[in-house]
Symmetry: C2
Subunit: 702 residues, 2 copies
């Protein structure tokens, strides 16, 4: 494959033409109607024209049934399978269709298939996908791309697929106007915004269209299109620029994705000219009701609002002596008549903390602010909680808020954009981390049969994540960072998926035609990359140690004496944050049993979170048998060596994958190698200078 | 004085109308001709019209002599005192005039008065100023403002004043186009540029005119009008924008100030379209010769070029395998026919150093690059050397380059803009620091009768400094930072001046009518402020410990693991940089005796420079009798308390000085107090956590 390139200006990510090769070679009948069925029809038509198959149309007079040769593939919404459609499908389709329809129906405790669900079955050489409605059909079609053996192999019993929850959302931190510090996309590492350019919505939204299609193929169904830090220019999306929002919504609609807006809590003042944005003020309530009505006139399937309030300088209800329930309910009541929801972020803390004050613990803040409000929120409020108590660090415990608000709809917020995990200059496949988070059992392994927070808490809420795309030709800067976007969508749909298997799905789609050895090499480079990144960066859950502001590269004390509440407290004797109830900030008490006791106990606390929960001497012996200081040395040397091996492995792919992908990744691996070396040497030197303990292995520390 | 304000939009700095009160009340004869004599005449005319005096004109037919009542003050150039002028001055002026003329003449070893010199004498109630030529007369007139007793007191023998050297220069780091990171003025803390606005030379240069007058009153005679980092927009000042440069030169000409340009060494490529800027290439030489000729056609009294080459990313001769003598001489030969000079900066070092590499020492760089070139430079090259080997830190030893190049004209570069000394948010009167630097005796106290570098080295060279003004209404952001600009001009003229007396001059001019108590309070707030700043920031000459990039506020490890060569090497046992010949980088060997031995010796090295030259244990006992660690604690607590006292003292001035000045300073003292507290607590905490040594006084360390 030497000399090949992706051959287009924009990299196709996980939907290259070849991904449709098997489906496109078949005779495919699509039945049903509506915009999403038309989307499916268009996809099949395009694929067929490239790969020699044929689109059969169940809406015409049965001509799809070509003599004694019926459809190879039948795609339809459940309601569309009347006699005509069955006739068009041909007799060979009957077995699979009957089986699929049965599995789509209700039985015993089982509800009938929801709109987004689908059933796929294969019998007698015919594959049938039945969608609960248009969305399910769309997802079912993409499912066939991931698993082409469903189109070619032996018969398969009907499988029923339904998303774990309804809110599978990506948040864009895109600014309309370029922010003087944060740029066009806040924490964006992949060029400019695909939606905005220098103060305006782009006239050409074709990148947005391609993006919507990519997202639909992973199961994403909601997108918030502007930054949660809503500046003056962005605020106007809610009013005078609604026509532009409607244009963006049009782009997403054929892919079953609803558009949300981040709004400024002070909008009644900023946009409406009122003197207050007090949630209990009737004029404020009326202003929001009008605003919501206007939005729905422009965008009938509008999703709702996202709000960052009383956080890092954003306005909020505190200014009026109100709480976050008052604030969220204000917007929720305005949206409720139209079916919209409010994503209200729980990321509220004191970002002007005095570093001298050891009693304040930023990790406590979300729980302290929100747990007391459980039960106070309207039903269309989703409290959106960052997965950890701090801020998207490479390792944090799961936020205790997720177990503390049983009467509140909660969404877990992840960060696909790699703000603290290498900024798409480093390979860092986050699937395994997210999977750990989603499988975390707040009440312990045996409690309530829970299979993790995903099942226990998200069913009424959902998952949201900050997107990592921009107008970069590879979408994500680092081509391998596409896998994070893909994996987020897949895990949002089915949180129990094996992230390693999801990685293989992505590799299969993204590198069509690659042989097993190539796929294995890509897998090898990526699968352990999150733990590798953890190895050479901040140790054992202590977090940060990054350059202030841009958050790239090591600076052990970068945040140590700042107002941000992110400290490690390293001194000549030890390191870590005492968050115990016994002697520390008491944060461990925010967890239910057994975690409140496991984390409290120096003997039981997992090694990888030790410094998040405890301040320990450098000589403290870990469960692993080594000391804290030796662990720091060992993991940092190991992390760097792992990157060396990644780079060597990648080098073997030269000429075996598209040159442009090879070269971009190789260039970034160079940067990663240099950066990992800086991390290793600065961290080791810092702790050696402080502790005075030499490396047991005698390696060079500066 | 409650309720008064400066009463104008732009603060008059040290030339308020009242400063002319005594002179303006006199009958003043001005004799001579030329643009500078006209400037003097205009000043006297303006002062007289405000304060009831009269301008007498020596060029007319003697009408200046009003009956039996001659002039009170006679101002003229030496050559202008013919019979008519003497008649116009009146008989009472004769004694002073004869004495002044005698002192202006040659006698024994004494040369006749130079163009910039002046003699002032007072006899028989008449004060006479004789200028060597127009510049001297101008400086003599301003001298009368500083010392109004010369106009009113008893007779005074003639005093002869001449500048210590000819090059008394301010460098502006003003960008024409706003730089995306550095802004309109690089390291500017007083608003925008008075010359440029957003990519163009200002149409209205009236601030420039006022500035020129202020500078003339201090003795400054050269101004480089653009940043030494010459970006694309600024490079064009040398070619298509020469007309604009000429406009600026017109503003400075009536004040005896010559304009210089910073140029880009790659100009032949960037502006000339050549393929090289190799100094030995004939086309390059011809390009520069043409460029210089064009400049002098537009600006006949143009001063010359300032060059930062092969430094921090700027282009230079190294690219062609040439050295700095080749580079500087290229430009010098182009300027020589026109009387111009090149200021070639010695600020050359490796700014991509690996922090792991302890053998490279940035402090060595200027000497290592330039000392071997001594004798190679054309006579119109001035090698411009930063006063210390690093970069304008609050405490550095004097650069050894100043003693290493006897066959080279050298200028010492100071920094009036307070990049590392509080950024015009902190009171930090730098006169005492500069005075120490200028009085430093490179060959020791008794050697060669030297009175310091000022006399020994600068006579053929000069002094340059980075200006601290902007379009702020107080010129310098912090009103008290005006004193630094004033003091630089005065010390450039006469390096042996007592900086405390210079401060009093400035206070007298700037706060006219203030009583002794007010003047004493202002003096008290300012005079020790540099040592106060040193107390609460980086200790004992170790430098930096500032936030990277903007350089404001504490960050002990901010530069510790970077490429900039600015380290402190603190570990759990000690701190400081070993620059000895015995065990360190050998930097001490760049000094002649006795300093090479004093700095080398732990026993002899002055406390205030200990950590610049030595890495010592925290328990090392200083000459002061305390340990290094206790010294760090003590000075940081003391420094903060000194700021508290400054603020209290300032508060007593409320209503006794103009409100606007009071308020601006009070606001900045608040900031200084908060910042000093941060410095104290972060430094103390950092060193306590590292050393584990408690404060002997038991004060709170976090």
């Amino acid at each position: 494959m030497s000399g090949i390139s992706s051959g287009v200006d924009i990299h196709p990510a996980w939907l290259p033409s070849e991904a449709f090769g098997v489906l496109g070679s078949k005779r495919t009948l699509v039945v049903g109607s509506g915009v999403l069925v038309e989307t499916v029809r268009d996809e099949v038509r395009g694929a067929s024209s490239s790969y020699g198959g044929r689109l059969l149309d169940g809406d015409d007079d049965g001509s799809g049934h070509d003599g004694d040769h019926g459809a190879d593939v039948v795609l339809g919404t459940g309601a569309a399978f009347g006699d005509d459609a069955r006739a068009a499908a041909g007799p060979e389709a009957k077995a699979a269709l009957d089986e699929a329809m049965a599995v789509a129906g209700s039985a015993g405790d089982r509800e009938p298939l929801g709109r987004e669900g689908f059933v796929v079955a294969r019998r007698a050489g015919v594959t049938v996908v039945v969608g609960g409605d248009g969305p399910g059909l769309l997802y079912g079609m993409f499912h066939l791309l991931r698993f082409p053996e469903l189109l070619t192999g032996p018969g398969r019993p009907a499988e029923r697929h339904e998303p774990a929850h309804d809110l599978r959302m990506l948040d864009h931190w895109d600014n309309v106007a370029v922010h003087p510090v944060m740029g066009q996309v806040e924490r964006g590492y992949a060029g400019g915004s695909i939606f905005y350019d220098d103060g305006e919505v782009r006239a050409d939204l074709s990148r947005g269209e391609q993006y919507a299609r990519l997202l639909a193929a992973t199961g994403i169904n909601r997108v918030a299109i502007n930054n949660v830090n809503v500046h003056a220019r962005e605020a106007r999306l809610l009013t005078e620029d609604l026509g532009e929002v409607a244009r963006i919504a049009e782009v997403f609609r054929p892919w079953s994705i609803r558009v949300h807006l981040s709004v400024n809590f002070a909008s009644p003042i900023v946009l409406g000219g009122l003197e207050t944005s007090d949630p209990l003020d009737e004029k404020v309530q009326a202003w929001w009701a009008d605003a919501a009505a206007r939005v729905y006139r422009a965008v009938p399937d509008f999703g709702g609002f996202v709000v960052k309030a009383d956080s890092e300088g954003q306005p909020g209800p505190f200014a009026y002596g109100r709480d976050h329930a008052d604030g969220a309910n204000l917007l929720a009541r305005a949206l409720a008549p139209h079916g919209g929801v409010v994503h209200w972020r729980a990321f509220v803390y004191n970002h002007r903390q005095d570093w001298r004050d050891r009693s304040t613990d930023r990790a406590r803040a979300a729980y302290d602010h929100f747990a007391p409000l459980d039960g106070r929120f309207e039903d269309n409020v989703i409290v959106q909680v960052k997965h950890g108590p701090m801020d998207f660090q490479v390792r944090e415990p799961v936020s205790p808020v997720l177990a503390a608000m049983p009467r509140t709809r909660l969404a877990v917020e992840l960060q696909v954009t790699q703000e603290y995990t290498g900024q798409q200059k480093h390979v860092c496949y986050l699937g395994p981390y997210w999977s750990e988070i989603l499988r975390f059992r707040p009440w312990g392994a045996g409690a309530l049969g829970s299979a993790g927070i995903a099942v226990s808490d998200l069913a009424r809420g959902g998952l949201a994540a900050v997107s990592n795309v921009g107008d970069d030709r590879f979408w994500t800067g680092h081509p391998l960072a596409q896998a994070n976007l893909y994996a987020f969508g897949r895990l949002a749909w089915e949180p129990e998926l094996d992230p390693s298997a999801v990685l293989d799905e992505w590799i299969g789609l993204t590198f069509p035609g690659a042989d097993d050895a190539v796929r294995a090499s890509v897998h090898e480079v990526m699968d352990g990359s999150w733990r590798t990144y953890e190895n050479y960066t901040a140790p054992m859950g202590v977090g940060f140690m990054v350059r202030p502001g841009h958050h790239y590269g090591p600076d052990v004390d970068g945040y140590e004496y700042t107002a941000w509440g992110t400290y490690h407290f390293a001194d000549r004797d030890g390191v870590g944050v005492d968050r115990t109830r016994a002697t520390g900030t008491g944060f461990t008490g925010q967890y239910p049993a057994p975690w409140r006791d496991i984390y409290e106990s120096l003997a039981q606390c997992p090694d990888e979170l030790l410094l998040f929960f405890h301040h320990v001497p450098y000589g403290h012996v870990l469960h692993s048998g080594t000391t804290v200081i030796q662990h720091i040395y060992d993991t940092h040397f190991a992390g760097f060596e792992e990157v060396e091996r990644m780079a060597e492995r990648w080098e073997t792919l030269k000429g075996r994958i598209p040159d442009d992908v090879f070269a971009r990744v190789a260039e970034r691996l160079d940067e990663q190698l240099g950066s990992a070396r800086e991390w290793r040497d600065r961290l080791c030197t810092y702790f050696y200078r402080k502790s005075g303990v030499p490396d047991a292995c005698g390696r060079t520390i500066y």
